[in-house]
Symmetry: D2
Subunit: 376 residues, 4 copies
């Protein structure tokens, strides 16, 4: 599909100015001018406008799929060869979008990595401006300690480490564990807004409770402690447990079966992880959601401003990105650049975790989407 | 305590203007003037200011306690003598504050009533601008049907019927059931903002599910359905179940035992019922909270702008209202007028439900409180 | 018009329950029950519902018009007979709505009074929770000193004294001056939220500048001082000057002449006084607006939830309140109770000042209006 | 100053992990692993963390000053050599930060350019997602037409063209005119959020009024038209006129002379251009302010997260950027990268226009600043 489909009658690309061929004299004068521009640290708009201000978003980031079964063995191998500790800080291996010139960025704004922690290992405490979360596609046994609160990590859990909270991880078992880290590292790097500080070598609390203190205080439907009534920038819930996510999705589909409004579209249940003190996103720069498609369901093709990363949690299906269809299964990750046309087809019941830079795009009022009527 | 304690050095009452005694001629002229004022529908400020604009709030509403064991039998007797149905609408019996001149108002802004529904009875559907909730101190067997969604009522549950939602109640058992209704009827009457409309004679859905559709869609910690992402004026959660309230309070006290910040003050756990789409109060005119005091705990005396109603849910203790101490136990209700000095003493573990007009007071920026350092 | 016009097919009043005539025995039992209710400070809903929860708002306040040419001489006479000073505080004479039982209230929420200050007189400083403004229909020579900032009062000016700001007035000339005070006294009295404190006998700054310090800091289009960047509850602009109000209204009509969208309806220009730190109303409880109708313009009949007070500033016309037409001219005041059907007819160019409790109604989400298609 | 001054006792740079020298076998295995990472589009964190997540912001953008007297002649020369019209769209020449690798970006988020329009020339209409403003350091005679509303451009004026508004410029005189364009082009390019659409070749309204329709409707202190009561993303005021900016700054300094709080610090007056419908910034991505320093005033050195661009409007002084002092005068521009230590010294009365990405930084809650107590 071309941009002319989006703006009928509009040119797809910037038009070339119809300027008469310069005389040699004129060409020389122009060459001098441009050289003077360069010396004065100036660049004209008129030669750059097509790249700078395209008719529709034309990201350098490309759609891409990473298979879990190639990703995980490499993380395992890193576990054998690379120690984890102060300086390197984390045994995390980032998805590097092939279009982004060798940077370890999944999209221009989002970092997505597999982090691997061997049995009995500890990733030392530190804090940084960057907002982070963990999502666990399989395994357990690690506690992430956030501001001194040990938070168990288990399959299906979504765990928060908002900016400037000290945090470390320790594996309380003899088995390795791997999970997905999501952060706004590229955005913070781009904006030059990042600070970083070291904490302790070992986690500050090595207890291994089933439930974190954060959850004991905050993780109830619609209840707020009187000791914490303000609006907080980040969600105070450290862990969004799979049992609730699963139940919410299951109930949406059951309600749909009963003819009640509940799903986002036919056969498509979805929840957003939210900050109970505001109803908004869990952190200012990252939105996180969970989707469940019934077997046989396809979503309508959609283009959206902003970029996102998906991970298949369970089931099998296909993702279609700008016309290219790829089969995906448990653990596979893929990125959807801005304005990329995407849709999903569920072969089995199909569960997907999803995070994006939508809060940023919406706060700046750049949000825009385009849903096609047909499946072209 | 006098207002001079609040504003040291300030007069407690308006001063009397030191005006020379009028001559008979002057007195007559003044009398004529006031008569002319009356004829012209005018009233001077200077003769009324002490009543109109007192130095501190001087409510007509008085502190008062209603005993459940005298309240309940009267409701039961009403169940024998008074039918429930269209026109009368509800078998609800309101707390009438002795200071409010025979109006059925617990406080100037709040209505609190015991509602009684006999076995197999139905209270017909209607809707109104007034915001309402139910709180269940004992019993079960009634379903309140809110916008067609049947919501089971059970001990400890807090249930919402925000303004302009059709609702009725039906008792699916042979046993009567009673509960507390809280509404903003006095406020709506005062502001002349109320509309009322009849619905069906029978409830629109007579099913008796354990869990309402609202809860299935909304009652998860921090999860929002993608089909409902806007900010709503009222909480979409129809029922705040006792199991969560109880767990939240219990965990706060356990966290306190562990030396963690969690309670509102030593031995005093408390939660606020909140709207998950905003983090704010469940409805614009009513705040609802639940408190648990450890046995032996006393709260510090406090004066607050705005009025509230409390009901003892479980346990025994005392309430001290403007210096008068009253022993209270399960089911007893009491009102705290604006700026009344109140405190609680817990004999046993002491659970109390509490609602107030605080959202209104805060939205108008009239909120103000005064905590005394000592227990005078 | 009846409520059935608003809800077609709905009963205009609550229906009378069809209960069989009680036997003498039943009647006696009921009488006993009601007596017991009374002794226990209880009142049943079913006997009160029609008054408590009417089908549409049925205010006690009535539409009423006060003529300036009868109001002003009475104020003048009060100037001769009644001193102004500490205790009485202000020589203010309130509009007493004939429906409100002898209270000095224009509407249930709003106070409107004419205040009269003789030559060289001072109204001493005080402060109170009540929010206040002044509007000047004629005259000049008085400075109102708000938190130590002297603010000149001149014809057409709208001047703010938000709650808890010390303020006094002093007349720097030998001529008397009168103006309109608007406050939320009735609301604050009803809610029991009011505090009052005396200040100095004389105003704290007797300077008589043309422009207040507040205006010098704040009264520019779209400019905020970097020394005051927060959101404030009340507007920091002490005086909204007539020259700007007049220019804004004139330009709206000129833009309308040019075919541009600008007026609120054909021939009807209007501005709202706003808080530049939020864009919202000047104070949390009071909205203030200014309207200008071209000669010959009539507004469409409208019903609105909430009450308001109008004063004719210039020109002649009619106000139609629940079907009663009254001719009004410069200085005349009238009140529009909640849900009263109102419209205006302009004989000449017709300027009106208008204030209401709309911010309160909107913050509680009770706002609702009904515009009729025809001019019945 | 080093980062250790900011976090005493903290390392200034990431520490190097103390890992034993790998054996040749280990080194080979590691090399294989990294090669496999590359093939799988993966990059490890531990080798990149120092660059990705520095201890404090370490922008690529550098502090830089552009002199108006070298900038303007180049623009003039472009006026002789380069036509303005469809395709190139604008004769705008951008400040290219020497640290940003040849991109036409003043900072990572901000575009700043001099735009030059010859006598009788027209820059054709178009619209784009990018938010834009104009600031006029000298000259007049051009009207910028925003959504059909012709807006005169004169010295000292700050003019808005928020995203997706059609706009063109036409010079109604025989003299050329130049001004500064500020946009969020780099941000929109980075985020892939930009759309662009052509409009008409000539401006849609060639009238040349002194005052735009936008100003006639909106540019009054604290007054809002009833025909436009919503909150708008962008300010509806098309032009912030110099006469008001100048008066506001002058009054701040006069109030300071009178001992009143008004300036942001001693001798330093400043205003922020704001959106009257919210009190917030004029556009979601750009903050604009105007500063006036008394002769002889120096500001305290400050570091702030986020980047900005300044232009001297009048007077002479110095800017100190990360320890380098540069004399600047009328028209000179300079950029302050994130966390750069900056201060100003005023030789004469010193007026500066200033714009930044602060609204973005604040909306994401990355804002942070560091004011040094001394002048080190």
């Amino acid at each position: 599909m071309s941009s002319t489909d989006l703006f009928p009658g509009a040119p797809e690309h910037h038009v070339t100015p119809s300027v008469p061929e310069p005389t040699p004299e004129e060409a020389g004068a122009l060459e001098d001018l441009y050289a003077n521009f360069g010396r004065a640290n100036l660049i004209p708009l008129w030669t750059e406008i097509a790249d700078l201000m395209p008719m529709v978003p034309t990201p350098k980031a490309v759609p891409h799929v990473w298979a879990w079964n190639s990703l995980y063995p490499l993380a395992e191998r890193a576990g054998e060869l690379v120690p984890v500790g102060r300086g390197g800080e984390r045994r995390a291996i980032a998805l590097a979008n092939p279009g982004l010139g060798g940077t370890p960025y999944a999209t221009p704004t989002l970092w997505a990595a597999i982090q691997y922690l061997g049995g009995r290992e500890t990733a030392p405490e530190h804090r940084h401006s960057q907002n982070a979360f963990r999502f666990v596609v399989e395994g357990e046994g690690v506690w992430t300690v956030v501001n001194g609160d040990p938070v168990a990590m288990r399959r299906g859990d979504f765990l928060l480490t908002p900016g400037w909270n000290f945090h470390g991880h320790h594996n309380d078992t003899d088995q390795p564990m791997a999970w997905i880290d999501g952060l706004d590292i590229p955005l913070v790097h781009y904006l030059d807004t990042g600070f970083f500080e070291y904490g302790t070598e070992r986690v500050t609390d090595e207890a291994t409770p089933d439930v974190s203190r954060s959850e004991r205080l905050w993780a109830y439907p619609g209840l707020r402690p009187l000791s914490g009534l303000g609006r907080t920038v980040n969600s105070p819930i450290a862990a969004y447990r799979w049992e609730y996510t699963d139940a919410a999705l299951r109930q949406q589909l059951l309600l749909e079966d009963e003819g009640q409004p509940a799903t986002v579209s036919q056969g498509h249940a979805a929840v957003r992880f939210s900050n109970p003190t505001t109803g908004g996103d869990v952190m200012p720069t990252i939105r996180a959601q969970f989707h469940r498609l019934r077997a046989g369901t396809s979503t309508s093709p959609l283009r959206e401003v902003g970029s996102s990363v998906w991970q298949v949690f369970e089931g099998r299906g296909e993702v279609v990105l700008d016309g290219v269809t790829t089969a995906v299964e448990k653990g596979d990750l893929f990125v959807v650049p801005s304005w990329c046309r995407w849709s999903l087809n569920a072969e089995s019941e199909f569960d997907l975790f999803h995070f994006s830079d939508a809060p940023l795009v919406e706060r700046l009022h750049f949000d825009r989407s385009f849903a096609e009527g047909d499946g072209r």
